[in-house]
Symmetry: C2
Subunit: 987 residues, 2 copies
């Protein structure tokens, strides 16, 4: 195949989209990070007017600059942007056609729609859609915009953003962009590479921070001035200029976390005002582009009269969707599995087995032997009170007659029954069973509607929200189409085939043919079957290498939900990359690419296994493509690691001073110093000694150093892991390296790791609370909830006793700003809140957790032990008698303001003496130990019961009364610091 | 024909240029005023590497904003930019092909290449080329770049810049762009119009001047920082941002004339550094795009051996060029007319009549009966001294033999002749006449080279400079091609036909067929014939309207030089436009469009006559096109006038405060106030009284008010003329209006107009000199030389006596800054310098002018009279005796430091007494009156002669001597304040 040139791709796309009714416009005249910022998108997606446009957008992202050294990352890349508004109904198919125009045929490749939740906070915009992958390479972003500039979009726009450089690389099966032709015999590199170097250097090293800040201020002031005059496009221009200038500052490392928030707030606010102003302006102009379309044609439902179904028949509902996110495939499965049986019951429909199947493109309900009709039945309908319906002579009054008429029965057939102490008339209404198809026509839309997702989106004027757009329904009872419409889609008997086969229409002649037809089309409907097939193919492929595939459940489940027809494709990569840290390799393969890694004797092999959606035609191209992508990613990582290890880990530490943690709290170097100090304080609290103590100090010293390495800058998720790796390569002790490695785990496995993690998290909580940045509402920009969980959960799981109050106090002393007692208290309460969540999540009952937390919380491990014990106690058969007995003591005393003294001499009855003695004979209570406490209570129960049977606590004699209350108070207080049993159910 | 859409045009051009080997790139990501600023042009035209590129460039020019109200003017218009480097040899033809691709066929239209000298001072760039007109509308700029960023380009790049909006309007024969389709059924107006309004409002009303100034400073500081690091593209980006910000400030009216210079200096300096840096960078990279082309193929000259020509034959040289500017057509005519006969003489070639013909595309030399050979001839060649050549016996010595051998003669034939007092040997050398074709092959390149133009350009690697590129030569002697090469072009016998016929190749079989063939091709070679044809056609067309064409010589000459085949096309315009000022109408028709206006009884008719290059095919389209263009221009003017006349002229005056004259000298309102004051002072000096004085004051008051009207803002050349028009419409007296109207004429016709003009010009001179802005070297940014000429020339022509020193003193008093005596003196000297130029230009002899100016200059009219008289005297037969006599008196006394007293008693001789008496009897001399002075001298001459014959001035007796000297001094001083005769020739 002849090689493509960059400009050919553009010209072909221009022609394609022009011939598909798009306006062709030009890139914007000010630097933008993406085509979305161009007013041809940002403004035009607002409001009701139709808008179809396509344009090239060279997109500038300062912090993607790599000095022209990276084959896939550039400070400027070229997007091809398409906006379709409203959704034409087949945007994915149009998109795939456009790829064919470029010479990319689905059968020759693996083209995938991979979930992507797009969000651009600087312009208050979000949408749902996909990254489109070509043989493992992201080549396009495909998004249904939901909001822009904070304005909810109606109609929704489809945005298709091609990454042209990547497409060229893929088309030419090239290693890098540089030597590919731009056009006219000139290479991309010849045109762009030197520029990449210069801009990268400018953005990272030369741009003057002070001047950039001034520019930012001037730009946003001009935006304000323009907005004040209703000049929206000029205002938008300055918003864009602000945004680009912010990006420069960011690339220059000049923006602290707190500042970032302020910057975003400002940009978002301006973007919102521009968007709202534009909406208003278009309205005032009466939407000039809103051409009357002469009454929208509704899709007509089949006009043939429904046949009659006489016998129980198979039923199929297939909801055809654009590719669902993997999680949503499972969500839909759960929802349908729960809902369908109930629904059938509610509809009085008799049926055989019910099966639910889900793939990324279809949600299927299959019902065997579904009755053709509801059975006839009698319903008892309640009417007015008897005395309003009939007079005392039994003559029907108007109310009675009306009721009878409404229910189509004779007044004579009305019955009088008692209900809730009153008498009412009732009608026995005979319901003729309705035909199933009628019932389903009404019920199926509601069934679809009942499927709810974590995130959902709108796409057409039905206003319906779903995980991704619904494009078809097959609804068949036997061979009869159940007609319904939902989300603007009308049901029928046409399904669609596999994506790589161009999703051909497939007619389903009757429900019982469905499974055969679908299987013939190559689709594995059953998730378990797909999963098994994947496992088998992956293992088989791995065995060819003499190794074993690493099949992790989460990944397997995800991959299974990404395809309809799995075909394993094994590829390799350069063995030199095996020198990279294992975690880097695995992380790239699994997280970024959804590949199964292969290992042998615990060592990775230079192979990976991808799962393609489709058969094995063109599988070599798919392999090459995936190999290229992985190779490029590894080359990237390799470059970083090679550069990084030129210094020892310790040598990175000073550079932490360039990384702002928070303006009020200093740099990461400051934070690192604080962690070191705090770890010193925690060492005795955690009872670390000798080597452990020494390792902990060293690990604390090095813990954050990897943050300024290139590898972590590039893949933040590898923080800690890279620290561990580089620590080892720098000759640090294993224990130290491992502690560094696990500091970001919610539950570090070693006690040293725990120490570092606790210090880090405490420092963040204490510092940020003191800086007034405690989470509010749903907002938690600094992840403090997670930090608090990361304190309590490991303490609980390792069952390590730890005094949180003390630790908070120690941390407070290291902070550069004052942390007063009130704040410390708030921090402790906040941590307690998380502890509660952790315990609830562990399956402990709410009342049990509440009961313990009401009494103790500053030592999470102890609290957890108490909860565990208490929960066990509440499961005992005799629990209610224990609780009852103890409760009697508590209830009768809890309103007393005074703690009464008990004097043996004042006892009158034997029962009280007996109880007193029983109390006296209890063993000394162990702190926060529920078992000890309750074992004591159990011992007291007989005496308590006897006491209450025989003794009147509230004696007339004040002294006697107070003595008795004092005795009970002493029992009641046994729970102090252990649990507040009054919080328990049944108390 | 179906209508075109905007995007179709772009897509077609992309395809066209891509298929012609151009890179297709994208618009730039920062606002630029033109595609030239895009680094794909600005940087890539530098250095030796080839570069062919095409791209769209939305171009932003803030002061072209018209709030979306003007159908042809926008703050953003869309250019399509093509760069061809090096010149492919046929860029015009490629361009015309591209128009065909758009559906524009030359035979259907009038496509013209109209001289344009492109210059962009902000980036220190210039080039020569054309505006391309389509039926009177400029649709493209076509330029051969000569310099960019101050760097001389080698090779030269061809730049083709299409104006896409205008092309769309022309293609669709539309009135305005707004309702034309952009694409996909959406109009251009729907996309752009609101934006035009918003940006116009922003640039003119809202942009914050202080912030823009700050941005400018920040941008240029960043440019500096980038340059310091060798980051050229980032630096260039900031130069562009500076430039755009400057444009905003300018549109906002915030830039004074003096500041403008500083801004431009700064931008130019940055652009220069970017360009030089880029050249250097590419050199260091070893010019990666400079692919070895494997030895350039030289066009081979015809290999057939030249035939022999035996008889005198016709000779034709046709130099085929791309369209020459009208003036250069004449320049070439003059040069060839002067040079060819001399050349033939130098070449000893006998010939008949010589004719020179010039059109915009060919320069033709025709020679009748050119001899086929030079005649044989004898030349006398001087050799060594005779005694070195022969011994005394007449035997040849080595020197003699060598000389003889060198000249190919026998030593015996050497002759001995005397020369300069010495004897030398001479050889009579017989020169065999060479064939004419040989001689011409050597001579013709030099002939072409000898044609020099005011401005010339390079275009290919020959390095030759010419007015526009040379593309072919026909050189025939009889039927024999005279082979030569010059400017990379080889001669032959192929001419090319008319541009609208696609310039077909035309073979010329022999020189005497040339004229017939060219005439057959439709070309009128003879300028006079073309001119006559134009006059005839124009008159004929005008007569159809019942009117008469206004045929002004300059326009006629220009139009004649713009075409090869004239066809008159008459068009009309809406009669409502006739309400516009006549000068506006004529100015637009003549200056902007090169049309002949039509009038009847002194009133314009709503018609115009254009001259098309070509025949009358498609003439209706040509007419419509021209009518559209003119209509649009008139609509523009009409809009402005209609808006303008809503206020009276006087009401504009206060707005002059917004127009800066110069930061040190205030606004135009300040200047206007000063003019008013100064006119008050000049009134008595000019002897104005009563009404005249009143009118002068009023005219001075209103003189500058029109500068802030929209019409003058739009067409600056109409300043004054519009003032007059609006003054009349505002009800001012005619005399006042006329004075306003003629204030900018070099020589106003009325004394009132003169008063205003003098005041205006004096004010500028005095103020700007005082501000330190006197012209230096060739630089005269404020046009002060012209101002000074405008002071002296009218005073001379109107013969009005005027005391310049007094006037300068008066003006000095009105200035806001001090004007000391020294400065005033400098101003007067500067004016005197211009007076000298004016007088020399009038044909007066230099010595005469110098003689008078040495004695008097502060009253130009008087000076001029004196010069005139003196020049007449110097023409008299007896002048030498007059001058001699007077000179004797002057010469003998001029070294005396003392003025001696004359005492009658001291006279010794009669002759001195007689002279003394003659002096005493002279009538009183009239100031600066040469005639009176010289008439006196004449009367003295006999006495002077007698005196010198009889008297020895330098007597031994000191007293007698001094008395005689005193007498002569009194005569010598007669010239004081009149003329210094010692400056005269022959003195």
């Amino acid at each position: 195949m002849p090689k493509s040139s960059f400009q050919e791709i553009i010209l072909k796309l221009q022609d394609f989209w022009a011939s598909h009714g798009c306006l062709i416009t030009q890139p914007y005249y000010t630097q933008v990070g993406a085509g979305t910022m161009n007013p041809a998108t940002f403004l035009r997606v607002l409001g009701p007017e139709p808008w179809n446009v396509a344009y090239v957008e060279p997109s500038v992202r300062p912090d993607d600059g790599r000095y022209g050294e990276n084959p896939n990352r550039f400070q400027k890349h070229t997007q091809y942007q398409v906006i379709l508004k409203p959704d034409p109904g087949n945007p994915q198919e149009l998109y795939l056609e456009s790829l064919k125009a470029l010479g990319i045929y689905p059968r020759q490749h693996d083209i995938r729609f991979v979930e992507d939740n797009w969000e651009q906070p600087a312009i208050a915009a979000w949408g749902l859609g996909w990254e489109v992958w070509l043989d493992g390479q992201e080549i396009t972003q495909f998004t249904y915009f939901q909001q822009m500039g904070g304005v909810t979009l109606n109609p929704v726009s489809v945005e298709i953003t091609y990454g042209l450089e990547r497409i060229l690389i893929a088309l030419n099966n090239a290693k890098a962009i540089w030597d590919e032709e731009w056009g006219a015999g000139v290479t991309y590199g010849e045109i762009i590479r030197r520029e990449e170097f210069e801009h990268s250097k400018y953005y990272y090293e030369v741009a003057d921070i002070e001047r950039a800040r001034q520019m930012y201020d001037l730009f946003s002031a001009e935006a304000d001035a323009c907005l004040a005059q209703g000049l929206l496009v000029p205002a938008h221009d300055y918003v864009l200029k602000s945004s680009h200038t912010f990006n420069i500052l960011d690339a220059r490392g000049a923006i602290s976390v707190a500042e970032r928030q302020a910057f975003f707030r400002r940009m978002r606010e301006l973007a919102r005002r521009v968007a709202e102003g534009y909406e208003e302006q278009r309205k005032e102009l009466e939407y000039p582009l809103l051409k009357d379309e002469g009454g929208k044609q509704k899709a007509e439902s089949s006009s043939t009269a429904p046949k009659t179904i006489l016998h129980p028949s198979s039923f199929i509902l297939e909801i055809g969707v654009e590719e669902l996110p993997a999680n949503d495939v499972d969500t839909a499965y759960e929802a349908l599995s729960a809902r369908v049986p109930t629904l059938l019951k509610e509809l009085y429909l008799e049926h055989g087995d019910v099966h639910i199947y889900t793939t990324p493109r279809r949600l299927v309900v299959s019902i065997d032997s579904l009755s053709p009709n509801q059975p006839d039945r009698e319903d008892l309908v309640k009417g007015p009170p008897a005395d309003k319906a009939f007079d005392k002579d039994g003559i029907a009054l108007p109310a009675g007659m009306g009721f009878a008429k409404k229910n189509n029965v004779d007044t004579k057939s009305l019955e009088i029954r008692e209900e809730g102490g009153g008498k009412y008339v009732f009608a026995v209404v005979k319901q003729k069973g309705r035909p199933t198809h009628e019932v389903l026509t009404e019920a199926l839309p509601k069934l679809v509607e009942s499927i709810k997702f974590e995130k959902s989106m709108r796409w057409n004027d039905s206003g319906v929200a779903f995980s991704r757009p619904i494009r078809w329904y097959v609804a068949l009872l036997g061979d009869m189409v159940i007609s319904f419409e939902y989300a603007g889609v009308v049901s029928g008997n046409i399904s669609r085939g596999l994506r790589p086969y161009d999703s051909p229409e497939i007619k389903i002649s009757s429900a019982n043919k469905y499974f055969d037809v679908i299987r013939e089309a190559g689709i594995l409907l059953d998730k378990e079957e797909r999963k098994a097939s994947i496992v088998e193919q992956v293992n088989q492929a791995a065995s060819l290498t003499g190794g074993e595939a690493i099949i992790e459940d989460g990944l397997l489940n995800e991959v299974t939900n990404l395809i309809e027809m799995p075909t394993a494709v094994m590829g390799g990569f350069n063995e030199e990359f095996l020198a990279l840290p294992r975690d880097v390799l695995i992380s790239v393969m699994k997280k970024h690419q959804r590949y199964f890694p292969v290992e042998k004797n615990g060592k990775l092999l230079a192979h990976f296994i991808a799962i393609r959606n489709g058969d094995d035609i063109g599988v070599d191209i798919v392999r090459q493509g995936n190999e290229h992508v992985l190779g490029a990613r590894f080359a990237d990582a390799n470059f970083f690691v090679r550069e990084d290890v030129k210094l020892k880990l310790e040598e990175y530490r000073p550079k932490l001073s360039t990384l702002t943690f928070h303006t009020k709290l200093g740099s990461y170097l400051d934070k690192s110093d604080r962690i070191e100090k705090l770890v010193n304080d925690l060492i005795p609290m955690l009872k670390l000694e000798n080597d452990e103590a020494m390792f902990a100090r060293r690990a604390a010293h090095l813990a954050k150093a990897d943050l300024v390495t290139q590898m972590v800058t590039e893949m933040t998720s590898l923080q800690g892991i890279i620290g561990r790796e580089y620590a080892l390569r720098s000759g640090e002790q294993k224990d130290i390296a491992f502690a560094i490695g696990e500091q970001y785990l919610t539950v570090p496995q070693t006690i040293i790791g725990l120490g570092i993690a606790l210090a880090d998290r405490l420092d963040s909580l204490v510092g940020l609370f003191a800086a007034g940045l405690a989470p509010t509402g749903a907002k938690d920009p600094f992840g403090l909830r997670r930090a608090a969980i990361g304190i309590v959960q490991p303490l609980v799981e390792h069952d390590v006793d730890f005094d949180l109050a003390e630790a908070v106090k120690k941390s407070s002393k290291t902070q550069p700003i004052a942390v007063n007692d009130e704040t410390q208290q708030k921090i402790l309460e906040f941590i307690t809140g998380r502890l509660k969540v952790v315990l609830n999540d562990k399956g402990y009952k709410y009342d049990v957790v509440d009961a313990v937390l009401a009494a103790q919380s500053n030592n999470p491990a102890g609290t957890a032990r108490a909860v565990k014990q208490l929960q066990e106690w509440t499961g005992r058969d005799d629990w209610s008698s224990i609780l009852d007995g103890y409760a009697r003591c508590v209830r009768i005393t809890r309103d007393q303001k005074t703690q009464f003294k008990v004097s043996e001499k004042q006892f009158v009855e034997d029962a009280e003496k007996g109880l007193y003695e029983a109390v006296q004979s209890l063993p000394t209570k162990v702190d926060s130990d529920v078992d000890s406490f309750l074992r004591n209570v159990v011992k007291l129960i007989p005496s308590i019961n006897t006491f209450f049977d025989k003794v009147l606590v509230m004696a007339d004699d004040q002294k006697i009364k107070e003595n008795r209350l004092g005795l009970l108070q002493s029992i009641s207080s046994l729970s102090s610091g252990v649990a507040d049993l009054s919080k328990l159910e049944g108390f």
